[in-house]
């Protein structure tokens, strides 16, 4: 479950997804990239009107009867985002709309489609994922989650699957099947790309990165997504630790000072003089008793 405060998750949710409204969206015509051209062609205004914002508008709305309704419809028609228009919206917006069945998702983003999946399957190691999106794996995970939930919501709202004779509902069921299949494919593609050969090669490069004279890893690192870069950093730390251990061997670990103090305090009734004044904030142990010599296991008798 992604964290609320997690910055990478928030940025990954900015991934754009193409959606189609299932009915006209009022006041949102500006989301359509072609709206400006259409508005100028139709002689309409470029900016969406605020409801109740102006006197003239209110005057039109306050008319009575069908004439009023039709007039309002005509006036607001230019600011409707028409049904079926393709718009690109970030995942955090699409999530709410998709859960309420306001939009249809025709296809996943280009870099998660069949062609890209095949390329990943063929040679995941040499793919430049950073070119596609910085948070390729995280955004993909969120996308898969969204698609699966969308399918689930659709199935819950239409339990009689295949029972209806309506052609549109059949088409929608087929679209949902395709979406579900896409989601599963993306899921397995992400998993195999992240955990397969690419990961092994990533950790191989961490070994090479320690010898700065031999290999230049920048070409490799610039191809990684954010998650892989983080794993590369961790691998680098681990490789450095192993190298250090091989060169200098392992020493005997000393017991923490805090443990020693606690042990002595328990045994000796708390008459310890800890390393007085060792706390940087001035948390000195003045007045806590005499200073006592401590025997550490690592150093022997001090």
């Amino acid at each position: 479950m992604p964290g609320y405060y997690d910055i990478d998750t928030i940025l990954a949710e900015e991934e754009l997804l193409t959606v189609k409204p299932k009915f006209p969206f009022a006041h949102l015509a500006h989301l359509d990239p072609d709206y400006t051209h259409r508005a100028s062609y139709n002689g309409g205004r470029k900016r969406p009107r605020r409801e109740g914002g102006g006197g003239e508008d209110d005057g039109q709305i306050d008319d009575l009867g069908k004439k009023r309704t039709s007039g309002r419809r005509q006036h607001r028609h230019h600011h409707h985002l028409p049904e079926g228009t393709k718009i690109q919206m970030p995942l955090w917006v699409v999530d709410r709309w998709a859960m309420l069945n306001f939009v249809g998702i025709p296809a996943p983003p280009k870099h998660y489609r069949q062609r890209m999946r095949e390329r990943l399957e063929a040679d995941a190691v040499h793919m430049n994922l950073c070119n596609k999106t910085d948070h390729y794996f995280l955004a993909g995970t969120i996308l898969v989650n969204l698609l699966l939930r969308t399918v689930h919501v659709h199935r819950r709202n239409n339990p009689t699957r295949g029972g209806g004779n309506n052609a549109s509902s059949e088409a929608e069921s087929l679209a949902m099947e395709r979406l579900s299949h896409d989601a599963r494919s993306i899921q397995s593609s992400l998993l195999s790309a992240m955990m397969g050969e690419r990961l092994c090669r990533n950790f191989d490069w961490t070994l090479s990165a320690l010898d700065a004279m031999e290999d230049d890893v920048s070409d490799w690192v610039c191809r990684l997504s954010t998650l892989e870069r983080r794993m590369f950093g961790r691998g680098l730390d681990a490789s450095g630790a192993v190298k250090s251990w091989r060169e200098y061997g392992s020493g005997r670990l000393g017991v923490s000072l805090a443990v020693l103090k606690g042990r002595t305090a328990t045994a000796g009734g708390g008459a310890i003089a800890s390393a007085a004044g060792m706390t940087p904030t001035g948390a000195s142990s003045a007045g806590m008793g005499r200073k006592r010599r401590v025997v550490t296991p690592a150093m022997g008798d001090a």
Binding site: I7, P90, R96, F102, A283
Partner: protein
């Protein structure tokens, strides 16, 4: 109107910096302003849709209109609502990240280095000072007062560490089993880790790695 782009800029600012970027007050204000404009827009839309639903001929008891705003108005309302929530989340994440850094800085160094003050806002400096007071009071009272809360931030690897003095005026330090050591700038010593750990954290001493110490 852009939807959550200023909040995204704030977070990208955090991602680009090594520790913390200077507090971006302009961008924070812009995000707050965007939240306000979304709220105003939302209020206007809700009022308009309520007026339409309440005053129209379709709202008679016989036709029984659906409760709430019209279905075609709902996507717009939801868009404004999620934009407000999104901006709020960006702001909270931005400040939570900075506060986390400040808290860990307190336990690592115990003080606010003067060179880092310029990246913090006035409120953050106040927060650091208050947190420092609270943490110090917690460490000095209660049954756990004999423990040094700032010791061993990381698992110890060895008892003695090789250090180089980089700050002037440290004077002499009395260690538990190495006697009294005078810390002059540029000198190198092999001292018990627990005795000099706070000086390493504050930057007065630099711990030498295994390779440098050999």
């Amino acid at each position: 109107m852009n939807y959550g782009q200023r909040g995204r800029e704030l977070l990208l600012d955090l991602k680009r910096s090594d520790w913390l970027p200077p507090y971006n007050e302009d961008c924070v204000r812009a995000v707050l302003q965007e939240i306000n404009s979304h709220t105003e827009e939302l209020t206007v839309l809700v009022r308009a849709s309520n007026r339409i639903a309440g005053g129209g001929p379709t709202s008679s008891s016989s036709s029984a209109p659906p409760p709430g705003p019209a279905i075609e108005d709902r996507p717009s309302l939801i868009l404004h609502d999620v934009s407000i929530r999104r901006n709020k989340r960006c702001l909270l994440a931005y400040h939570a990240h900075r506060i986390d850094k400040l808290r860990s800085l307190r336990w690592e160094t115990g003080m606010l280095p003067p060179g880092l003050k310029f990246v913090l806002s006035e409120s953050e400096v106040d927060y650091f000072n208050e947190y420092d007071k609270l943490a110090s009071r917690h460490g000095l009272s209660g049954p756990m007062q004999m423990y040094d809360w700032t010791a061993d931030q990381y698992p110890p690897e060895e008892n003695l560490v090789q250090v180089r003095v980089v700050r002037d005026g440290l004077g002499k330090v009395e260690t538990e089993y190495c006697g009294t050591v005078e810390l002059e700038v540029g000198s190198t010593h092999y001292l018990p880790r627990g005795d000099v750990e706070h000086l390493i954290r504050s930057g007065a001493l630099v711990q030498l790695s295994g390779e440098e110490s050999f």
